[in-house]
């Protein structure tokens, strides 16, 4: 199951600390990690406990990350809202941490059915001051496992929070995966706060009272962000007339629809962003150059479609699935007629 796979992948990749708070539909990840912790699957996995709230979760992650250790949590929409403060602090303080967000129905308490309605939150408004994180979106359980390891690496390489945006479907579906063990990551923690130990003291800080000083820091953070390479996947999109743009589970539906449409003589393809932030805009522009129709498919009222529109500079159509309903291949195909 998706939750099991993500938990195992995290432990195999070298997770050191897990702090979490239960919230449907992400609780299974935490429960699986409890079992893996108790069974001593990996000696590196030394710390596991349930926090008192998501506010406490994000701060526990910040503490572990500031001390240079790999830490992770899993949550869903209402919990991620509470973590926004901590993510903002972690962005400027350059603290690595990984959050698996399982998108459920929202805003508000919503429901526990799958949606992709956290897109705007995680890519555009992840906390005050313009804070952001690298956002990875898997569309299969195998990819989710690989992305957990990638998230640990990226978070330490760039000293930035990383969010893996899944949804309730990926977490609960069953799929076969390659059982090859993931290689453990090795990270650099020389900058971390572990006690002076005879050297210079390290400052993990996000307050810079002098505007000049803060400007330098922000410029440095922007430059660091620009060095992150976006990732994407192209499914039959080289010669596509009709290009679907979708991520996560919607991309799977889009690929099914595209295959079906090809059999009916319509040249359809799918452009699938893998990093939602930074968004693979240039790659999208490239993939869409020969397409006459661009259709965004997402499980929300229309969030990613604005990014697509910005990059392709033409009208983009939308197939929305709102409220937690499962996306339907037939409906997508209908749109293309």
């Amino acid at each position: 199951m998706g939750a099991e796979a993500i938990a195992e992948a995290a432990v195999d990749a070298g997770l050191e600390a897990y702090f979490g708070y239960p919230i449907t539909p992400s609780s299974e990840i935490m429960e699986n990690l409890a079992l893996l912790y108790a069974s001593h699957r990996n000696d590196k996995f030394k710390v596991y406990f349930q926090s008192a709230s998501e506010v406490e979760s994000i701060n526990l992650l910040m503490g572990a990350g500031a001390a240079g250790h790999i830490a992770m949590t899993a949550t869903s929409g209402p919990g991620l809202s509470l973590m926004a403060e901590g993510i903002s602090y972690a962005y400027t303080s350059e603290i690595p941490l990984v959050i698996v967000n399982v998108n459920r129905g929202g805003p508000g308490l919503g429901n526990v059915a799958p949606e992709q309605s956290d897109y705007l939150f995680v890519t555009k408004s992840l906390g005050h001051g313009g804070s952001k994180a690298i956002v990875l979106a898997p569309s299969s359980i195998q990819e989710a496992m690989n992305q957990v390891r990638m998230a640990f690496e990226l978070s330490f390489k760039f000293r930035i929070p990383v969010i893996i945006l899944t949804d309730a479907i990926i977490i609960h579906m069953l799929e076969s995966v390659d059982q090859d063990h993931l290689l453990p990551v090795s990270v650099d923690s020389g900058w971390s706060a572990r006690g002076r130990s005879g050297g210079e003291r390290h400052l993990i800080n996000s307050i810079y009272l002098e505007p000049d000083e803060f400007r330098k820091i922000k410029v440095k953070l922007e430059e660091k962000w620009k060095a992150i390479e976006p990732l994407s996947d192209c499914f039959m999109c080289d010669d596509a007339e009709t290009l679907f743009v979708a991520y996560g589970i919607s991309a799977r539906i889009a690929m099914e629809a595209a295959t079906e449409l090809r059999e009916r003589g319509i040249r359809a393809g799918v452009f699938r962003p893998i990093t939602l932030n930074p968004f693979p805009g240039k790659m999208l522009m490239d993939a869409a150059r020969n397409s006459s129709r661009i259709i965004a498919i997402e499980m929300n009222e229309g969030q990613m479609v604005h990014d697509v529109q910005y990059w392709v500079r033409r009208d983009v159509e939308l197939v929305p699935f709102i409220g937690g309903i499962y996306p339907d291949t037939e409906e997508v195909i209908e749109k293309c007629k």
Binding site: L60, G195, R196, I204
Partner: protein
């Protein structure tokens, strides 16, 4: 003549506190205690929001800044992954008991070996003197210009008594850090008993952490600028009002560190 300076203080640094505030005294005692216990190289300070934020400009230890009120959670995260470090935080009364009350209670309940030094001056100092959870009834602050009305805001919170309900903490103590003005025939003299007791409390709290327990010390200090008093008047106020609302005493000393001669 030269004298050996504390290694936990940045050479030449000036602390950012108002003249007469004992917050600087608390930081100095922490530096002295780290040196006495020989743990300066293993110390990690977690900063909170308020007057204590800029402690990193004075203390020369590894420092991680926390959002308002979240220091106990960040300290827990650090201590869990680095159990050999000595992790402590200085929080104000607003930071610890207003926005941070949940984090403080849960960290205390878990009994993780970390140390919280709470500097209680009964107002939000850094932001200009607004009412805090520890403001006593009738005290004038910028958000209670006619005095705190307990019918509307409730009475002040006694944090040591609150934490004593939990079995997690190993050392809970409240001391007055403001020197007591004593009226002599020709002048007002300040007692140094409070300073000595506060220093011993800091050492005991860190010793408790080294022995594996959670320690919490509340220091009753002054804020003469926001209380709009002279320095000597604010010391009098601390002894006449603060000490009555928050009686200083030892609440819990599970390992008996207070009675161990160093």
């Amino acid at each position: 003549m030269q004298v050996k300076q504390l290694s936990a203080v940045i050479p030449g640094a000036v602390n950012t506190y108002c003249p007469g505030c004992e917050h600087g005294l608390l930081l100095k005692f922490i530096a002295m205690a780290l040196e006495e216990l020989g743990v300066t190289e293993k110390a990690i300070m977690v900063g909170s929001v308020g007057c204590s934020t800029l402690a990193f400009k004075f203390l020369n230890v590894d420092y991680v800044q926390a959002p308002h009120g979240r220091a106990p959670a960040i300290m827990t995260g650090i201590k869990e992954v680095e159990p050999g470090a000595i992790v402590f935080a200085v929080q104000g009364d607003g930071d610890a008991l207003s926005i941070g009350l949940q984090e403080l209670i849960h960290a205390a309940n878990r009994g993780i070996p970390i140390t919280v030094f709470m500097y209680n001056n009964m107002v939000f100092g850094m932001t200009g003197g607004q009412m805090a959870p520890t403001t006593p009834e009738g005290m004038v602050t910028t958000t209670t210009p006619f005095g705190r009305n307990t019918k509307a805001s409730g009475p002040p919170i006694n944090s040591c008594e609150l934490l004593s309900c939990l079995s997690g903490p190993s050392y809970i103590r409240r001391v007055i850090i403001a020197p007591k003005p004593i009226q002599l025939k020709d002048r007002v003299m300040y007692s140094s008993k409070e300073a000595n007791e506060s220093y011993r409390a800091v050492v005991s709290a860190l010793k408790t952490q080294m022995m594996g327990g959670f320690s919490y010390v509340e220091f009753l200090g002054t804020c003469n600028v926001n209380w709009k008093m002279s320095i000597t008047d604010s010391k009098k106020y601390a002894h006449e009002v603060s000490a009555k609302v928050f009686p200083p005493r030892l609440f819990r000393d599970r390992f008996g560190v207070d009675s161990i001669e160093s």
